[in-house]
Symmetry: C2
Subunit: 349 residues, 2 copies
């Protein structure tokens, strides 16, 4: 754990080594780490005083800080960032953990429940809060629509996505629409929307049916009005599964009830999380880590997010964990990454 793994721009080797130790130890113990301690554990023998000099430099550069005069140093968000990018070694995932994850995934074949349970497990293994979003259907490709009358004024709309997912919505229709007319409208929609993604449909549906907009039963008009409801996964708005609250409160940061509040705030306010996940989604890389203030939100400025995308034929979702910035990134990142791949594999089979 002491080698510097990657090349990097700004810091001398000694500075890096000491920063590494500070971050590593602080992550393990949650106690500010002092010069004496590092002096003892550093392979290269340096006196505490020398180390203090380096530390002071690192503090000036913005990688470290200390809570009060006579306390050890703790990493700043910038310090964590440097640690993650250049110093940290990924920890291999244990075989037993892999096994637990696989078992959990195969325990049920209800996708929703699978995600929920996996979320719980993720929380348990990482001792953090875990988040899982249901697959976004937006980028899924439309296969076909079916219209089934189920009561005089109710219409069941079934939309199939190419990967095999299905979405059903109930619409209120003004008056009863004859079966053959329904079939006819259905056929027409199927022809016009074939091969598009749901997102494309949302954006262009009005144009695509403009010529038939005034069709007699008002059905097309109803569809136009409900296009958001129909082609937006209702789950997208709210369905972020949060689990593992029990685990995160064991973290030493939560002896202070103030932090307690903030985590509950986070759990209740799913919007914040959804918002942040969207930003993660824009990234190209497979997994994304944001540290503390890097997520602009005030509420989350003391938390880090590690998320990864799972992709099932264009339909994607996210899994990840949330925890105090002082988190074991080296362990959590491979874990999240592994779970994401496992879910993708599971869902595509």
């Amino acid at each position: 754990m002491n080698e510097v793994t990657n090349e990097n721009p700004k810091l001398t080797e000694r500075e890096q080594s000491i920063l590494h130790h500070v971050v590593y130890n602080y992550i393990q113990t949650a106690v500010p780490v002092g010069s004496r301690y590092i002096s003892k554990h550093l392979e290269k023998n340096l006196s505490p005083a020398s180390i203090r000099n380096v530390m002071a430099d690192l503090e000036e550069t913005g990688f470290l800080s200390h809570p009060h005069t006579s306390a050890g140093r703790i990493p700043t968000d910038l310090g964590y960032r440097f640690y993650i990018d250049y110093l940290m070694e990924m920890q291999q995932l244990g075989d037993d953990e892999k096994l637990r994850i696989q078992q959990q995934l195969h325990q049920t074949n209800d996708a929703d429940e699978m995600l929920r349970e996996t979320s719980k497990l993720l929380g348990k293994i990482s001792h953090q809060l875990s988040i899982v979003t249901s697959p976004h259907l937006s980028s899924g490709i439309f296969e076909k629509i079916e219209l089934i009358p189920i009561a005089s004024s109710k219409l069941l709309v079934v939309i199939s996505i190419r990967t095999g997912m299905v979405r059903t919505i109930i619409l209120e229709v003004g008056a009863e629409v004859p079966r053959d007319h329904l079939d006819q409208v259905g056929r027409m929609i199927n022809e016009r929307l074939a091969g598009l993604t749901l997102k494309e449909i949302r954006d262009t549906f009005v144009d695509r049916v403009r010529d038939v907009q005034n069709e007699k039963t008002g059905l097309i008009r109803l569809f136009v009005d409900s296009v958001d409801q129909l082609f937006t996964d209702s789950k997208e708005r709210e369905k972020v599964i949060i689990g593992g609250t029990k685990n995160i409160v064991d973290q030493p940061e939560f002896v202070d009830p103030k932090n307690f509040r903030s985590v509950i705030e986070l759990i209740e306010n799913e919007d914040i999380i959804v918002h942040l996940l969207e930003r993660h989604d824009e990234s190209q890389r497979n997994y994304v880590v944001t540290v503390g203030t890097e997520n602009k939100e005030e509420t989350t400025k003391e938390y880090s997010f590690v998320t990864a995308t799972y992709d099932v034929g264009g339909v994607t979702g996210r899994v990840g964990i949330i925890g105090p910035t002082r988190m074991n990134y080296g362990k959590v990142i491979p874990l999240v990454d592994y779970v994401a791949r496992a879910i993708a594999k599971m869902l595509s089979s």
Copy 2:
């Protein structure tokens, strides 16, 4: 608030009056109440010493206790029970609160979201944890079934309930089944199950289709095998919506992190709550209150539950709140009751 509202068996009028004061004040302040305080506020002038005597009696009978020698008295579960049954006055619900509830209910027409938001509001108004269960379909009456092929090996089953609710399930069928055969099977099932509740169907489906069990495509066999999945509301198992965590942590009992843990335990372990709600369901009365140890569960022995049923044409669900035994029953009970009625009205329209 000082009149004794109901007749009751065991206690003298003075004892009741004092018990009333102790419980009432403790609910308001969360501070053990002493004899001196009561002496000052009691309309009938009694010295602290006399009140202490009565209190000692009440303690012996099991209605009061005190945490340590030099502290005031706090009610036991039994004390709360007596208070609820005989002493308490119901508080009228404020017009503004009624308004907020009505507004919330009409904000969306998605039933699930409506319940979720109402739960949040209930938590906010009561400053407690709120629980809402989705309607149990079990006692709903089957209206019709429809079978729609959506992919070569997938079948969408749509089950309508008389009150207008609809449940959709996707089944994997071994091989493709021709459309006309599907229709034929659908018609048959519709005939045989008409007018039954889902629960009855679950219990007797096998018998009702025994004669056609070996029909060529294996469709009936598939239905028999999946009867639980088809006719049990998937939501029944898990769908209890818990909201208002943010509010309950403001309660003074949660300055102790130990209690914090227990409430999180409760939230994560929905099973416990579901289990308790089942017990509440058996009650005949419209609303049910259980205090502390009255719910046998170890985890909930410091919490009280107030729940009420909402009933939409035989399909029922529960709404309620959970909080420390020291809760404002006089306010919470009418609130829960009102919300239950409002939801029922909302859903049946």
